[in-house]
């Protein structure tokens, strides 16, 4: 129980200091981009290996694209009411959209 309480207190402190965590993460993100620009990669297997901060840009844009894709597929195609499969037989003919 003491371990649980201690862990909870540590987490509470981290949540209170979230802005410092945010700043630290942003600083670290800047640092890895800088390191990528400055450091010799040691290999050039693909055309993009020479582009500075390629992975950072790819990850950021990829995340945005995936989130957009989720929204598109979800609202445009696959989202249904939670009881969709449990409706009565008579209602099965309806398309189930909200």
């Amino acid at each position: 129980m003491a371990l649980v309480d201690f862990t909870a207190r540590v987490l509470e402190t981290l949540v209170r200091e979230a802005r410092w965590l945010r700043r630290g993460a942003l600083l670290l993100a800047g640092a890895v981009v800088l390191a990528d620009i400055l450091k010799d990669k040691g290999y050039s297997r693909f055309a993009w290996d020479g582009i500075p901060a390629f992975t950072a840009i790819y990850a950021f844009l990829g995340a945005l694209a995936l989130i957009g894709l989720y929204k598109l597929i979800g609202y445009g195609l696959v989202y249904r009411r939670p009881d969709y499969y449990h409706r009565g037989q008579d209602e099965q003919g309806a398309d189930g959209h909200d």
Partner: protein, 560 residues
């Protein structure tokens, strides 16, 4: 000495006492049995081969080599962790089912011929479905039956494939299969059903979240990973699997983001992670096959850890939907931290197990000059980090306080999660421990500056995108249709329509028949009442009818 002591046989026999032992005795045996099995597997030397003759067939029930032993080790290990997690469960049927399921998975992994493989393949299905049904809810029974039907189909395909293979080659040895022919495709389809490869995957996210809290942990470990093993054994270098695997990685992460149930979200991530392994099998180089085996090993550990975390939340709150959870970090802080170890592992965060296994497969793709595959695998990594390590824990443990005030998970659950987390971390910092048991020598170092910088960028910038769009990313109180819609809705409607047509036709035919029959009955009645058939016929009439009959006989020549 140990050749006759097949680990699967030991485990199957050891499962029987779990049906009758109660409380402390059962708990002790739950811990002791996996340790005995682990010792039995550890005592197998690579190259061990046990053959026997049965009904004129040469069978190899035990084949231990570099590839099969990696899977055997982790199967025995996860049985121990899963048993610790389920110590408090007073349901003997579940414990027996879990042990038999693990025994069958071990048997399939160590099988050296296709008949033995088929037998254990089917035992896996029959044992595992009880882990779903024992939740004893209507939705679990229904999902269990769907699971059973899909796997029965897979079993039939495998059976037909084995017969076709035997007729074609005269051999039952389970070795890499020749690249064409009916047997090749039948067996491949059966394996891909168990690997949950789209569009044959819907049984997994349908059934696993409906299983018991502890059952899901076992389910996540055995069926799909046995499929990965048999694919690696039978179909290395099959080009089609590279693209299928990459498709799986993206399909899984896309659907994982769409669902509201936390265990379903993690179930979709099984498809995604198995996708890396399927792609590794398809690439087929020694580095890729070793990466596949390594990733299966680490995946079983961190996926079990993630599902144990989600299961602990369900066990303590009775809820599993993102829209009904939030703010739990104050009440289940240890569960949260241990879950995060699993999250960082699956996301290939440096110092955790996924980083030293998943990157081998990505590196194998790069070494093979597959640029598009390399980029798509990285994109799937972005999706994995977004949903498993950011979205799920954020909206479960942080986010809007749902007003839940649960106690922390029971001690045995935390110990099981702690053990899995410890292994994720140890493998992450000392990857050589894992690399030494892989089928081929691995000349790969994950901890180079380039790898660390690349992975750091990938994770940090994905995180930035997540927090920028955070308010749009919460769970939605909806379900997401998947391929199971074809048999759960469309198929049911078709069957319903066919049933309506048949039953309408049946009713119409019966009605018409009965109408005719009643008319006949009425006519007969009228005749009987009128007395016409029974009246006396005049002699003139009789002579007339006799003459008529004779005339007809003459006309048609019947009298000749």
């Amino acid at each position: 000495m140990t050749e006759w002591l097949h680990p699967a046989l030991l485990l199957a026999l050891g499962a029987l006492p779990l049906g009758v032992l109660q409380r402390r005795g059962r708990q002790v045996w739950q811990l002791l049995l996996p340790l005995l099995v682990l010792a039995s597997v550890a005592s197998l030397e690579s190259g061990t081969l046990v053959t026997m003759h049965l009904a004129g067939l040469e069978l190899t029930p035990l084949r231990a080599d570099g590839l099969s032993l990696v899977f055997a080790y982790i199967f025995a290990l996860i049985l121990l962790i899963g048993n610790i997690f389920s110590l408090q469960v007073e349901d003997n049927a579940q414990h027996v089912a879990a042990a038999l399921y693990a025994a069958a998975a071990l048997g399939a992994t160590l099988a050296g011929d296709l008949v033995t493989l088929y037998v254990f393949w089917e035992i896996m299905v029959v044992a595992s479905v009880w882990l779903i049904w024992r939740r004893q809810q209507r939705s679990a029974y229904q999902a269990g039956y769907r699971y059973l039907i899909v796997h029965a189909l897979g079993g039939m395909l495998l059976f037909a494939g084995v017969i076709a293979y035997y007729l074609h080659t005269g051999s039952l040895a389970f070795e890499p299969l020749a690249g064409s022919g009916t047997a090749f495709y039948l067996i491949l389809a059966a394996f891909l059903i168990n690997a949950a490869a789209p569009p044959l995957h819907a049984w997994l996210p349908d059934a696993y979240p409906e299983a018991t809290v502890t059952g899901t942990v076992f389910l996540s470990a055995f069926t799909t990973k046995t499929a990965v093993y048999v694919l690696a054994r039978g179909f290395p270098g099959t080009e089609f699997l590279v693209w299928l695997g990459v498709g799986m990685t993206l399909y899984g992460v896309t659907y994982a983001f769409l669902v509201n149930d936390i265990r379903r979200l993690l179930a979709y991530h099984i498809i995604s992670q198995v996708g890396y392994m399927v792609a590794g099998v398809g690439i087929g180089t020694t580095l890729a096959i070793s990466g596949t085996a390594a990733h299966a090993f680490t995946h079983i550990l961190y996926k079990a850890l993630l599902l144990m975390g989600a299961g602990a939340v369900l066990h303590m709150t009775g809820r599993s939907k993102l829209t009904e959870l939030g703010g739990l970090y104050r009440y289940m802080p240890v569960t949260f931290l241990l879950y995060m170890v699993g999250g960082l592992s699956i996301s290939a965060f440096p110092l955790f197990s996924g980083f030293v296994s998943k990157t081998i497969i990505i590196e194998a793709a790069a070494e093979d000059g597959r640029g598009v595959i390399f980029l798509l695998m990285m994109l799937a990594g972005v999706g994995t980090f977004l949903s498993t390590t950011l979205k799920l824990p954020w909206f479960t443990f942080f986010g809007k306080d749902a007003g839940l005030r649960p106690a922390e998970a029971p001690v045995n659950m935390r110990v099981a999660m702690g053990l899995a987390a410890l292994l994720c971390f140890v493998i992450g910092v000392m990857p050589q421990l894992l690399y030494t048991i892989l089928p081929y020598t691995v000349d790969y170092n994950a901890y180079t500056a380039s790898h660390l910088i690349k992975e750091g960028q990938l994770l940090l910038f994905t995180g930035i995108a997540f927090f920028l769009l955070l308010k749009h990313l919460g769970g939605k109180d909806k379900i997401s249709l998947d391929f199971d819609w074809f048999y759960r809705d469309l198929g049911r409607r078709w069957v319903g329509s066919a049933r309506d047509i048949v039953s309408t036709a049946n009713a119409d035919i019966r009605r018409e028949f009965m109408t005719g029959f009643r008319r006949l009955e009425a006519a007969a009645c009228r005749l009987r009442v009128s007395g016409w058939p029974m009246r006396s016929w005049p002699t003139g009439s009789m002579a007339l009818w006799t003459a008529l009959v004779l005339a007809l006989l003459l006309v048609f020549g019947l009298g000749r």
